[in-house]
């Protein structure tokens, strides 16, 4: 026997009142009268024997106490133990609230709403003495309602559950459910999910935010890659491994409850990354992967609209077969803080949360480059005007600030530059923390051993070692002729790009984390190099390539899939999302320096940290249909109980009514008023 509201049991002290009234009742007063003839004319009289009278009083007291007890038990919601020993003591409802549960059917009912209907119907058949717990899960499980006998409270908490645009992690959730179920066995776990048969889903690995490589990065201008097969052999092995390893302990049973749609159609964006275009400062490339769920009934054409700053800049169409994943590269240009929005649409799409991506174009600042060159009235190559012209050639196209400095001014400017160009000179103190371009170096430069070649050695042509290197991007190496002025030893450190004979003329690479581009020739003395378009390109490529590693030039947006927790600084965060045709903002406080990415959109802290969170989940996009024959109707009664078990409030109320009527009839039908 249990009481759902034991707080009312204290009312039992009220039993003192009828007992006291009985014990200290006023005895009937004996009055001698001269004659009874007038009293006999009154309507009521009590002609009872003494023992019957006493019996009636005791009976009245007992009935009053019974009435009081019944009312107290009804208020306390007494639950009688089941007559039968069989049945579960606990039901743990494990409710999937991941992104895919927002999928709607033709009537607009989401999977979560459907799950709620099912659960409420099922809970009606669960006896009152069976405790029910509720766990909601997406990336992490959350105990929404610990084991309780209060059904109304549970349903109230169930109604508050909302879908979160986060990919699910089923295994962790099942483990949590098992832990909860084991507290009071025998227990049953209802795994309510849109996965058919409640099977576990395997979510894809989450890419790290520091990586600049998109998972399936394509070279600029490449054609979209062909569709991939969904769920290859490796995934199946992992799934089987998880299912094998998840064992239910004794006394705990698992019942999957599927609320999956029958024939879902869903296309979604499963991968996205934006990056600056190499060697094109201010331009961006976005990689987008779109996929169609494997159980879509037929191939479909997906429309991908690209909006920058609210304007449609690229409408694209993608043909998708069921199970296809197609990657696209989008070239983008835009101003600072302009929003990039991708919208994917497919006829009959039942899940909207994986159809959009919203991200601001990364902010870039001008690259500050210091052109350090000696100036001499005697030497016409100091400064080298060809170098100056080359730098000026792309000044307008790209965001650069060029500081023309004499060597003496270098020390004062070194902290404010991103790239240093030493043209025919070297600093006294080598800047190890800056990328460096060495033009016509006169001697050793930091870790690079360099010797000047007096007089210079002309070369009609150069031999290209690596045409694909970014420094040689669009440079027509076959048409240049240079005058070599330096010889340098780059063994094991830099990559030679141009050779003259066996001597490297142009090299680039990283030495102990510092980027180098070394040009061992003098542009002014070279015949066909400075006057061609290749020289400005060469210089520009070298600058951009070196500036790639310079910190702070391009804003590093923290891109993460939803469900992750990222460390942040600040006290509040503002979320921006696309809703109802416009951008909507909302704020929240930050607690503990952590931000849970539980919604889709752009976030920004009050300290200026920015990031974007998207669903980007293959598993959530690949909606599966429900298996034929799987019933989503209300489950069977969990445990068998007799009629005098469970919640007997109705019985108590009937008893109270009966006792009231009986007592009124027996003792108060002659009541006076």
């Amino acid at each position: 026997m249990q009481f759902l509201n034991p707080g009312f049991l204290w009312l039992s002290v009220l039993a003192i009142i009828p007992i006291a009234l009985y014990l200290f009742r006023r005895k009937s007063k004996r009055v001698d009268v001269s004659t009874l003839v007038f009293f006999k004319t009154l309507a009521r009289e009590h002609q009872e024997s003494a023992w019957l009278r006493r019996l009636k009083k005791v009976l009245s007291l007992l009935m009053t106490l019974l009435l009081l007890l019944g009312a107290i038990f009804a208020l306390s919601k007494i639950i009688l133990s089941p007559v039968s020993e069989e049945g579960y003591q606990t039901v743990v409802v494990l409710l999937d609230r991941s992104a895919s549960m927002a999928a709607t059917d033709a009537e607009g009912v989401s999977r979560l709403d459907r799950a709620r209907e099912l659960l409420e119907a099922r809970l009606d058949s669960v006896p009152e003495d069976v405790g029910v717990a509720l766990i909601g899960y997406d990336a992490r499980p959350e105990v929404i309602q610990p084991r309780t006998l209060k059904r109304r409270e549970l349903i109230s908490r169930l109604d508050e559950v909302e879908v979160r645009p986060v990919a699910q992690q089923t295994r962790v959730a099942l483990e949590s459910a098992i832990v909860l179920a084991r507290l009071e066995t025998p227990a049953l776990i209802w795994h309510v999910t849109d996965s058919p048969d409640g099977e576990l889903k395997v979510t894809q690995a989450v890419p790290t935010p520091e990586s600049n490589e998109a998972p399936e990065a394509e070279a600029p201008g490449a054609e979209p890659e062909p569709a991939e097969e969904s769920k290859g052999g490796d995934d199946e092995d992992v799934l089987a491994e998880i299912e094998r390893s998840l064992e239910l302990p004794e006394g705990v049973d698992l019942e999957p409850v599927s609320v999956a749609l029958e024939e879902p159609i869903n296309a979604g964006i499963t991968a996205f990354r934006i990056r600056p275009v190499p060697l094109e400062h201010g331009r961006f490339e976005a990689y987008v992967q779109v996929a169609l769920n494997s159980e879509a009934p037929e191939p479909t054409t997906a429309k991908l609209d690209v909006f920058v700053g609210g304007a449609l800049v690229q409408p694209r169409e993608v043909e998708l077969n069921p199970g296809d994943r197609v990657g696209l590269v989008l070239k983008l240009e835009g101003a600072e803080d302009q929003m990039l929005r991708l919208k994917l649409s497919v006829d009959g799409d039942c899940l909207a949360s994986d159809n959009e991506v919203l991200e601001p174009l990364p902010n870039t600042r001008p690259i500050v480059a210091a052109w350090v060159r000696p100036v001499s009235d005697d030497d016409p190559f100091q400064p080298d005007l060809y170098t100056q012209f080359a730098l000026r050639a792309f000044l307008d196209d790209y965001q650069f600030e060029i500081l023309a400095l004499e060597p003496g001014a270098w020390d004062g400017a070194r902290d404010s530059v991103d790239v240093a160009i030493f043209d025919d000179c070297l600093p006294e103190e080598w800047p190890e923390d800056l990328p460096v371009i060495l033009l016509n170096p006169p001697g050793d430069a930091g870790p690079i051993r360099i010797s000047r070649v007096e007089g210079g050695v002309p070369h009609e042509s150069v031999r290209v070692a690596n045409e694909q290197h970014p420094v040689l991007f669009r440079v027509s190496s076959g048409r240049v002729s240079v005058t070599q002025t330096s010889v340098f030893d780059i063994a094991g450190s830099l990559e030679p790009l141009w050779f003259a004979g066996d001597e490297p003329l142009l090299a680039a690479g990283d030495v102990k984390g510092q980027r180098f581009v070394v040009m061992g020739f003098s542009p002014g003395r070279s015949e066909r190099l400075p006057l061609t378009a290749s020289f400005p390109l060469l210089v520009g490529n070298a600058l951009l390539w070196c500036a790639e590693t310079a910190p702070g030039i391009t804003e590093k947006l923290i891109e993460s899939p939803t469900g992750r927790v990222v460390p942040v600084e600040g006290e509040s965060v503002t979320w921006t999302r696309w809703e109802e045709g416009g951008l909507k903002k909302s704020s929240a406080n930050l607690v503990g320096g952590l931000l849970e990415l539980n919604r889709i959109g752009i976030w920004e802290t009050d300290q200026g940290q920015r990031g974007a969170a998207h669903l980007l989940s293959r598993a959530e996009t690949d909606l599966r249909g429900s298996s034929a024959g799987l019933s989503a109707v209300a489950g069977e009664v969990v445990s068998q109980s007799g009629w005098l078990s469970g919640d007997v409030t109705w019985l108590l109320l009937a008893l109270i009514a009966f006792v009231l009527i009986l007592e009124s009839y027996l003792f108060h039908r002659h009541a006076v008023y």
Binding site: V31, S34, R44
Partner: protein
């Protein structure tokens, strides 16, 4: 129930009471004198002449009234004055059933006081007075008394009266049938509680055949008219020892009072229809006032002598 021995004559018939009786009598006589002058003969039988006084003879006087012995002594003519007195038989029936004593002893006291007062009045008026006790039957415990000096005997008798038993009005009034030789005035001092509500009415009809003037003095306590009861009570009839359990409410009280008032009115109506004088005598009201009122209601006792 108090026994006669436990009562002191002082509580009923103390000297003060007797003085008040005498004063009452004088007041009454004065009232009579104011109303009529001289000796009046009455149509009632059984009157006597009693010497009253001497007066000088005047030529208009009856010569037969001359007292010659006094003339022999004083050599003057005096006539003898006589007072003609009508002689009644005063019957005083005192209810001595249990209900007259318990639970309200003042009913007993009132009845005894009244009985003694009426007896005194009768004795002073040279009437014969018979006092009876009435319960299940009428018992003449004392032979008729005459003369003022016999008042003590009546008092002693009254003191010795024992109370208790039932009241059988029908039997009492049926069996009590004095002859016409005992024509007089009948005073019934009772609470008139019979075995049924209507028994008193039935019984009174028998009283109408009594030879003479009949007065019913209905003695009751104010509580009996307005019972102060509430809640669950167990009533016990002091005469029959019958028990009744009731839950008495205001509504019941109202019904009771109405029934009691009806009882009084029915008796009054019955008395009136039988030319029987009826007077309610509530024990909380002043004795003298009620007594004078009784006598001023045209009683022969009050107007004769």
């Amino acid at each position: 129930m108090a026994t006669p021995s436990s009562r002191s004559s002082e509580e009923i018939f103390d000297a003060d009471f007797l003085d008040r009786l005498r004063a009452l009598f004088l007041r009454l006589r004065k009232r009579r004198q104011l109303r009529k002058k001289g000796i009046q003969s009455t149509p009632a039988t059984g009157f006597t002449r009693e010497f009253k006084d001497f007066r000088h003879y005047t030529p208009n006087d009856d010569y037969r009234a001359i007292d010659w012995r006094l003339y022999a002594r004083l050599e003057r003519l005096f006539i003898r004055l006589y007072e003609e007195i009508q002689e009644f038989h005063i019957h005083v029936l005192i209810d001595t059933s249990a209900s007259m004593e318990t639970p309200f002893d003042d009913k007993r006291l009132t009845a005894l006081k009244l009985g003694v007062a009426l007896s005194y009045l009768g004795l002073v008026g040279q009437h014969r007075v018979s006092v009876y006790q009435m319960g299940e039957r009428v018992i003449e415990g004392l032979p008729p008394q005459k003369g003022q000096g016999n008042i003590q005997r009546i008092i002693d008798y009254a003191k010795r009266l024992e109370y208790g038993g039932l009241t059988d009005l029908n039997r009492c009034f049926t069996e009590f049938q004095p002859s016409r030789r005992r024509y007089g005035i009948f005073f019934v001092l009772s609470d008139l509680y019979g075995r049924g509500v209507d028994e008193a009415q039935e019984a009174i009809r028998h009283a109408s055949t009594w030879p003479g003037e009949t007065h019913f003095i209905h003695i009751f306590n104010p509580w009996e008219q307005h019972p102060d009861l509430d809640g669950e009570i167990e009533l016990v009839d002091v005469e029959t020892q019958e028990h009744r359990r009731l839950w008495f409410t205001r509504r019941d009280r109202k019904k009771y009072e109405e029934r009691f008032e009806l009882f009084l009115k029915e008796i009054e109506h019955t008395c009136k229809s039988r030319q029987i004088d009826y007077q309610r005598w509530r024990t909380d009201l002043p004795f003298e006032e009620l007594f004078l009122d009784l006598l001023s209601r045209g009683s022969a006792l009050a107007s004769g002598s």
